[in-house]
Every structure is written in structure tokens, then in C-alpha cells.
């Protein structure tokens, strides 16, 4: 096989993978009404709530701690440069805009990739290996509706919420840095931040979070469903879920950032 064929095969495999993800995503969208409260089947919403607790509530401490660290690091690094030009106050702009547009959503997505994306893949992969998915099919239950869609609904709700929490902690950490270095009071810092960021910054960050949520759930679930073989295959699928969803999240981030940049220009 020459280099051109290898590249062609890689591109075809990549497109087939994204196509598979899109089909799975569409099936989840179609099944979503059956998971929602009141409209949905009994028990589904409860499963989605359990998933929200697992994806969101359990991830809260790590998201908060890492956001505080990232906020502090960002403020220190930019502060070190801006101080030379007597522009230390712009640290607040960098932290505020940087977190709402970029760092909050991407940091949250990467944490959820590692925690929940791998868990989705391991859970579904194990269900494949132990024939639980086959058992569902033979009972006329749709695994997409029964297993995947509650995770999808939970992630679509919880990951944007986690992003907002990440933004809050990151911005507060920036405030702590500014308080230590310039003695600025927290209310004044917050007022400055609210002036610096615009609604579109927050909305673009939230839109990214929703896209990241869809990527993480779909890649994790698809890697689980593609498991063939025994427990070692489950391990490989878990690694693959984290690597592929991280890769796709960053690609999607670059794509959306470029779009927003062109729109805002």
C-alpha cells in the first residue's frame, strides 16, 4: 500500500466513523422525547437523573479544583507579562473572556471525557461482552433508547451547567490573584468582569459545551457498542473513547472558535 492509499483509507475510515456518530446522534435525538419527564416512559427520566448525578454532581469537586488552578495560572501568567506594560488590569479581561469563551467549556469537556466518556464506554462495552445488549434487542427493547439516550439527555443538560460552574470558579480564582497583587475588592473585580464579558461570550461558550457533550456521549457509547471479544477489548475501547473524544472535542473547539472569530470580526 502506498502513502496515497494509506491516506485515502484513513480519510474513508474517519468519515465512516463520523457518519456512524451522526447516525447514532440522530437516533438519540429521535428517542429523546421518550426519556423526558411526563412525555417519556416510566423509569427513563429516573435513569437520566442518575446519569446527571454521575456525570455532573460527582464531577463537581474536580471541575471546581481544576478551574481554580487554571484561573489562577492564567491570571499569574498574563499578569507577569501585562505588569511590564502597566496593564495589569487587563488580566481581568483575559480571565473573564478567556474562561467564558474558551477555558471553562474546554476544561469541563476534557474532565468529563476522562471521567464519564471512559465510564460510558466501559459500561456499554461490558454490556456487549456479557450479552446484555443482545438480551435487550431480543426483548424488543431499543438499546439506543434504553441505554444511550438517558446518558445523552443527562450530558446535554449537565455539561453546560458544569461549564458555568467552571467559569465561576476560574473567574473567582482570577479575582483572588488580583486581590493579592492589587488589593482590588471582590465586588469591584466582579463589576469589571461583568463589563468585560458580553452575552455572546457566554452563549458561544455554552454552545460549545452542548457540542462537546454530544461528542463525548456519542464517542463513549459508540466505542462501547463496537467492543468485540472479551474484557481486554473493553479496556481498549475505554482508552479509545478518551483519545477519540478528546481529539474530536479539540477539533470541534478549533472549528467553532474560528467560526465565532469570523462572525465577531
Amino acid at each position: 500500500m502506498n502513502a496515497l492509499e494509506a491516506i485515502g483509507n484513513g480519510v474513508i475510515r474517519g468519515l465512516a466513523y463520523v457518519g456512524g456518530l451522526t447516525l447514532q446522534f440522530w437516533s438519540e435525538v429521535q428517542a429523546t422525547p421518550r426519556v423526558l419527564p411526563i412525555l417519556g416512559k416510566r423509569g427513563r427520566w429516573r435513569t437520566a437523573l442518575r446519569q446527571m448525578a454521575a456525570i455532573g454532581v460527582d464531577a463537581l469537586p474536580i471541575v471546581a479544583i481544576l478551574s481554580v488552578c487554571a484561573g489562577f495560572i492564567l491570571a499569574m501568567q498574563t499578569g507577569a507579562v501585562l505588569r511590564r506594560y502597566g496593564a495589569l488590569q487587563y488580566v481581568m479581561d483575559v480571565v473573564g473572556v478567556g474562561f467564558t469563551r474558551e477555558l471553562g467549556p474546554i476544561l469541563t469537556a476534557l474532565i468529563v471525557c476522562g471521567r464519564s466518556g471512559s465510564a460510558f464506554s466501559a459500561e456499554i462495552g461490558t454490556m456487549v461482552v456479557t450479552s446484555e445488549i443482545d438480551a435487550m434487542r431480543t426483548m424488543a427493547l431499543d438499546p439506543i433508547e434504553f441505554v444511550l439516550t438517558p446518558k445523552y439527555v443527562a450530558a446535554m443538560i449537565v455539561i453546560p451547567c458544569l461549564s458555568i460552574i467552571s467559569n465561576t470558579f476560574g473567574i473567582l480564582a482570577g479575582g483572588a490573584f488580583m486581590h493579592i497583587t492589587t488589593r482590588i475588592a471582590l465586588p469591584m473585580y466582579l463589576r469589571y468582569i461583568f463589563n468585560a464579558i458580553e452575552l455572546r461570550d457566554v452563549l458561544s461558550g455554552l454552545l460549545k459545551s452542548v457540542v462537546f457533550a454530544a461528542i463525548i456521549v456519542n464517542v463513549g457509547c459508540m466505542e462501547g457498542l463496537r467492543v468485540k471479544g472479551g474484557p481486554d477489548a473493553v479496556g481498549r475501547s475505554t482508552t479509545s473513547a478518551v483519545v477519540r473524544s478528546t481529539y474530536l472535542v479539540i477539533l470541534a473547539d478549533a472549528f467553532f472558535t474560528a467560526i465565532f472569530y469570523l462572525v465577531h470580526k
Partner: protein, 269 residues
């Protein structure tokens, strides 16, 4: 003779160019216990997976109650699946649910019965397989035999017409396996179910079967009543029944080399 409840015609399955099932045809009549036997890799489980509609054949048709399961509508497939219970080799109980939740699941999902009725039906199904007191336990807390019984209880939850077992006695001690055979016979007689069992345990097959079918390397080589099957002179069937092993190394050239190597090792000791 009445139309068969399960009809397999010319089922051929190929995976990546390798033929796993070779134009297999088999009819199973309503109310009979058919045991499908064969060695490891003979295609038993592949055939079962096609009969229960988990995979699509390369060629051939599978009709359940006269409906082609690969050409029917989604609604028809759901109806067929509701009339069929499957007990998998690995039991396939949902580990995140208790035993009674596992059994109640198809009732909750596929019927409009009230919760109180489902609770009673779940207990009855568990009691029928001798697990009346284990409903609150989680699947990992059950022994191998209890898991198999729980899987049977779940497979019979919707009172299916057809019950399918994949290697029911695999991994069980002879006493528990015999108990499972009794359970299969009880289900046949009490509920007039049509039962298809995939197995390689001949003692169990002769105990429960009305007819036995044998697959050998993807080809169906016999479909007989159990007495006829026992007397069948086909060399592969005789080898299977008399437990005669295949030579581990088939090639005479390789056999010669192994003998030479063994002699060499003997000389160096």
C-alpha cells in the same frame, strides 16, 4: 403436518469470506423441544443468533410463525420478539438491577399492566424457577445455577410461545445442570412452549429433546428423533457420541517432525 413455528431455509452465513453456515435448513414444530448439537465452532451459536434475529444471514430465510424476520416490518419484528424468550449462555442479567427488576423489566416496558400486577407476576415467575426468595438480590450475588434460573424467569416473563436456550448447562455442575433440564421439561409441559436448545452436552440433549439436530463444520448432518439419532451411523455423529477426539495435529508431515523432535529431546536427557 402443521406449519413449523420456526423455519430455517438455506441459511448461509459468511464472515469476511469464511463460510460459517452452509445452506442450513431446519423446521421446528410447535410444542417440541429441539436440541441443536455440534462441536465447538460448528456454527450452533451463529445459527441461534440468526434465528433470534440478532444478525442478518448472507443468504437464506428464517421464518418465525410464518413471518420472514429479515424482511418484516419493525412492528412485526417487535411482535415476534415478544413471542420469543431467550436465555443466553452468559445469562445476560442486567447487573445494575435486582433480580426482580430484571424479571419485571419486559413487563414494565412492553405491557400496560399495573405495578401491583407486575409485582405478583414477577414473584410467580421467580417461584416457577425455584427462586422465590431471591428477588431482592443483585445478579452478582447469585450462584451460576441461580443466574441461569433467573435468566429463564426473565425469558418467560411475557409467556412466550418460543423459548431459546444457548448452552444452558455450560459451566454448571451435573446436579445443577440436571435441575435445569428438569426446568426445561417443566416449561414444555406446563406452558406448551416450543423450546430450542443449543448445547454440546449429549446427556442433557437425550434427556430433554424430542428431536436432535447436529451441525458439523457449518453443515446440518442430521435431524432425528433422539433414538434414531443415537443409532445414527454417520461417522461424525458416532465420533461425537463416542467421544473420540480428532487428531491434534492432522498433517502427517507435521506429525513426523514432532516425533523427530520428541526423539531428539529424549536423546539429550
Amino acid at each position: 403436518m402443521a406449519d413449523p413455528i420456526i423455519s430455517v431455509e438455506g441459511l448461509t452465513v459468511e464472515y469476511e469470506g469464511k463460510r460459517v453456515l452452509n445452506s442450513v435448513s431446519l423446521d421446528i414444530q410447535s410444542g417440541e423441544v429441539m436440541v441443536l448439537v455440534g462441536g465447538s465452532g460448528s456454527g450452533k451459536t451463529t445459527m441461534l443468533r440468526h434465528i433470534i434475529g440478532l444478525e442478518r444471514p448472507t443468504t437464506g430465510t428464517i421464518r418465525i410463525k410464518g413471518i420472514d424476520i429479515n424482511g418484516c416490518s419493525k412492528a412485526e419484528l417487535v411482535a415476534i420478539r415478544r413471542s420469543m424468550g431467550v436465555a443466553f449462555q452468559e445469562c445476560a442479567l442486567f447487573n445494575s438491577m435486582s433480580v426482580e427488576e430484571n424479571i419485571a423489566l419486559p413487563l414494565h416496558e412492553l405491557t400496560d399492566l399495573a405495578d401491583s400486577v407486575i409485582e405478583i407476576m414477577t414473584y410467580m415467575k421467580l417461584a416457577a424457577v425455584g427462586l422465590g426468595e431471591t428477588g431482592k438480590l443483585m445478579p452478582p450475588e447469585l450462584s451460576g445455577g441461580m443466574k441461569k434460573r433467573a435468566a429463564v424467569a426473565r425469558a418467560t416473563a411475557l409467556d412466550p410461545e418460543i423459548l431459546v436456550f444457548d448452552e444452558p448447562s455450560a459451566g454448571l455442575d451435573p446436579i445443577v445442570a440436571a435441575g435445569l433440564d428438569e426446568l426445561i421439561l417443566f416449561l414444555k409441559h406446563a406452558f406448551q412452549m416450543t423450546i430450542l436448545v443449543v448445547s454440546h452436552e449429549m446427556a442433557s440433549a437425550f434427556r430433554i429433546a424430542d428431536r436432535i439436530a447436529m451441525l458439523d463444520r457449518g453443515t446440518l448432518i442430521a435431524v432425528d428423533g433422539k433414538d434414531t439419532f443415537r443409532a445414527n451411523a454417520n461417522p461424525r455423529i458416532r465420533q461425537f457420541l463416542d467421544r473420540v477426539s480428532d487428531p491434534i495435529i492432522e498433517s502427517p508431515a507435521v506429525q513426523d517432525r514432532v516425533r523427530a523432535l520428541a526423539g531428539l529431546m529424549g536423546a539429550t536427557r
